[in-house]
Amino acid sequence: MSLRFKTREEFDEVVYAVHPEDYRPLLEQLKGEGFDYPRNLTGMDLEYGLRVVVHLTRLADGAKVTVYTDVPYDAPELPSITDLWPGFEWFEREAYDLVGVRFRGHPDLRRILTEDHWTIHPLQKRYDTGGYELPGWQPKPWPEVADWEEAPEGDEGGEA
């Protein structure tokens, strides 16, 4: 089975836009290619869903890759990659805490920066800076052509 993703060059790194179901298989493949150092894991809210961006590097030659995928609001779930890079354990907890992505198979998915009993994920765009819900906020529709899909007219998938 081939993985559903598209690549592009951005500055000095290769960017992979990947289907959420192929997120972990692709990262396993990259781990096999020697990308051993976890640089960063970002969770972000795109107003139609949540995005997770993973930055990796290979210490041997300094090659850099970026992998990202989007998940919808009603099922914000991704498989955890803490067993591949244990350094992402707290990064995934932070993405869960602030943005609300749930990582399946994470050893200890608790809130990390805010308090345990909070229910909001404050970095979502539906909240204002103070953490209060914005009146009249509506999610946008899911894009017709996701970044990892071939566009009908050969249109490049754009970054938000």
Binding site: E115, I120, T129, Y132, E133
Partner: protein, 184 residues
């Protein structure tokens, strides 16, 4: 003012009221609690090092709140640590004082609008001296401490009440469920 202004007799006898004697002792041996929170804590440490040297004012850091009578709130207080600040304040030995150091402790500073920042430590404990700055220089903190000494020297023991932490700010509430309105 106070004891130092009283008439000094040739035999080193000083005449003053009991208030003056007790306040002199208290204001000259303020023992702050070792509790650094954020950026201001580094400048607070710098105030106790050779250049500014607050040690010469009789101030020595104590690691346990039971042995301290002054708390320097040196940094941003957020909702997660607010309950600890409150508890530390309650554990301080009476009489106790609080110096709020820096913009964050005074009113939230640059982080005032944030979802988990308490808009000033005076929402949870009574504050005696506010030191402005982001972060204040060690000299600014030193002046704040001198102001606190003057304040202590003016106290009248007769009117003294035990001081308690404030309770009307629910530090455990999350935004949207605390009944407050957004601050601007």
């Amino acid at each position: 003012m106070g004891l130092l202004g009283s008439e000094a007799r040739p035999q080193n006898i000083i005449v003053g009221t009991l208030d003056d004697v007790i306040n002199l002792a208290r204001s000259r041996s303020l023992w702050p609690l070792t509790f650094g929170i954020a950026c201001c804590a580094i400048e607070m440490m710098a105030a106790w090092t050779p250049k500014v040297d607050a040690d010469r004012l009789g101030m020595f850091f104590r690691n346990s709140p039971r042995q301290a009578d002054l708390m320097i709130i040196s940094g941003t207080v957020n909702k997660k640590i607010a309950s600890r600040v409150k508890r530390l304040y309650e554990q301080l030995a009476e009489p106790k004082w609080v110096v709020s150091m820096g913009a964050c402790a005074n009113q939230g500073g640059p982080f005032r609008q944030g979802y988990s920042v308490v808009e000033g430590v005076d929402k949870i404990v009574p504050v005696d001296v506010y030191v402005p700055g982001c972060p204040p220089r060690p000299e600014a903190l030193l002046q704040g401490l001198l102001l606190l000494r003057d304040k202590i020297a003016d106290r009248k023991l007769r009117y003294q009440q035990p001081r308690v932490a404030l309770t009307d700010y629910d530090v455990f509430a999350e935004p949207g469920k605390d009944g407050r309105v957004p601050v601007l």
